[in-house]
Amino acid sequence: MARRVIIVGGGVAGIQTALTLSQRGIPTLLLERESELGGKLTGWHKLFPSFTPAHEVLDELRQRLNGSGVEVRTQCEVCHVERSGVTLASGERLAADAVVVTTGFTLFDARVKEEYGYGIYDNVYTTADIERMLNEGRVAMRDGSAPRRIAFLHCVGSRDEKVCQHHCSKVCCITGVKQAMELKEMFPEADVFNFYMDIRMFGPGYEEMYRDAQQRLNIHFVRGRISEASPTLDGRVQIKAEDTLTGRPLKMSVDMLILIIGMRSNASNAVFAADAGLQCQPSGFLAPRDLFLHNTESNVGGIFYAGAVTAPKNIGESLSEAVVAADRVTEYLKRA
């Protein structure tokens, strides 16, 4: 029987790996926990830095997948992974000659940062909420009115030892700037403030977008980490921070406080690691064999990684890593 590859996780990385493998004539089974493919991409509205509609990328990938002959099974969650195959939540065991783990990441649960009052005060949101609202076409405060003052807070759940998330999720900064621009364009009268420790514009066109946000849209970037949020009488949110560039504490009440949440490793990483003897990084992301020549292989032969399961990545990086993973799998199957 021709050799079969199972891909765990139907996000952008999973789909691209499946596509590349099927182009090379290797039968592939793509398993996805949710009811539809696309992973986190399904939740996004527009993609930085070009404001490309997320559904464009998604539809393109899905459309390519339909014509590719890859076997796809949705709504089945993988709970155990071994070199020889995977076990589903339903107990069913699926054999495979190689497994590619593309389970991606989990959004940091902002409720853990209790002092920001997410899930407690009315007008505290996360970037995921905003993307959802943008997708629904209407962004507004809890009482439906338009915000006149919006504050974004960078690094929520990243670079924060208090919540054991030491790593930098790198894509949330640019997401924050993107949403700040989208909201400012949606509410031109509003003042938008971004509170940051460091602005990390790592990708091409990101710095220019940051500068455009500052100059054209007059978005205020305040270097200082909001320490505390509390509700005011009229349902707004009072925030406190230090404007470290002037060394003065700063206090203001805003209509919407938007927490720019980072990427957390999946809980399933630890489980998979235990099953198959995979190595994890301190941040909880799975550790590739090395970061250079074998950055898509795990320390166990036959198990491969692609996408944000090993580290925070943007969509472009995940897609290219998927192709590399597929290439490694083909090579592995040829040798084995």
Partner: protein, 111 residues
């Protein structure tokens, strides 16, 4: 009734209260010179400031405070600037720093 003197005064809060501050003047300044908003606070201008290394004058800090609506004393501080133009050569964001000094003094002159 005259205010009692108990031998101490109540400390004034140092907080920048953006609810109470009137940002009209700062918006006017930013409308006239939007590039000022691209300041990333690297401090290159203040580092080589001629007046800055003779006094406590800190150009970056003063214009940041003005952008937060803290106009108190901004004019007197900016008056320490000799307008020699060194800062304009250093700014990585290409901000017309001398223009900012003159703009702030003009806008806040009668404050």
């Amino acid at each position: 009734m005259a205010a009692m003197n108990f031998g101490f005064g109540i400390n004034r809060p140092r907080v920048i209260d953006l609810d109470r501050n009137n940002l009209r003047k700062s918006d006017e300044i930013l409308r006239e010179m939007p590039e000022l908003q691209t300041c990333i606070g690297c401090g290159a201008c203040t580092a080589l400031c001629t007046a800055g290394n003779l006094t406590s004058f800190n150009f970056r800090r003063v214009h940041t405070l003005v952008r937060r609506g803290e106009y108190e004393g901004a004019y007197e501080e900016m008056n320490k600037c000799m307008l020699c133009g060194k800062c304009r050569l250093a700014c990585p964001r290409g901000i017309n720093t001398r223009g900012v000094v003159m703009l702030i003094k003009r806008k806040l002159g009668d404050f």
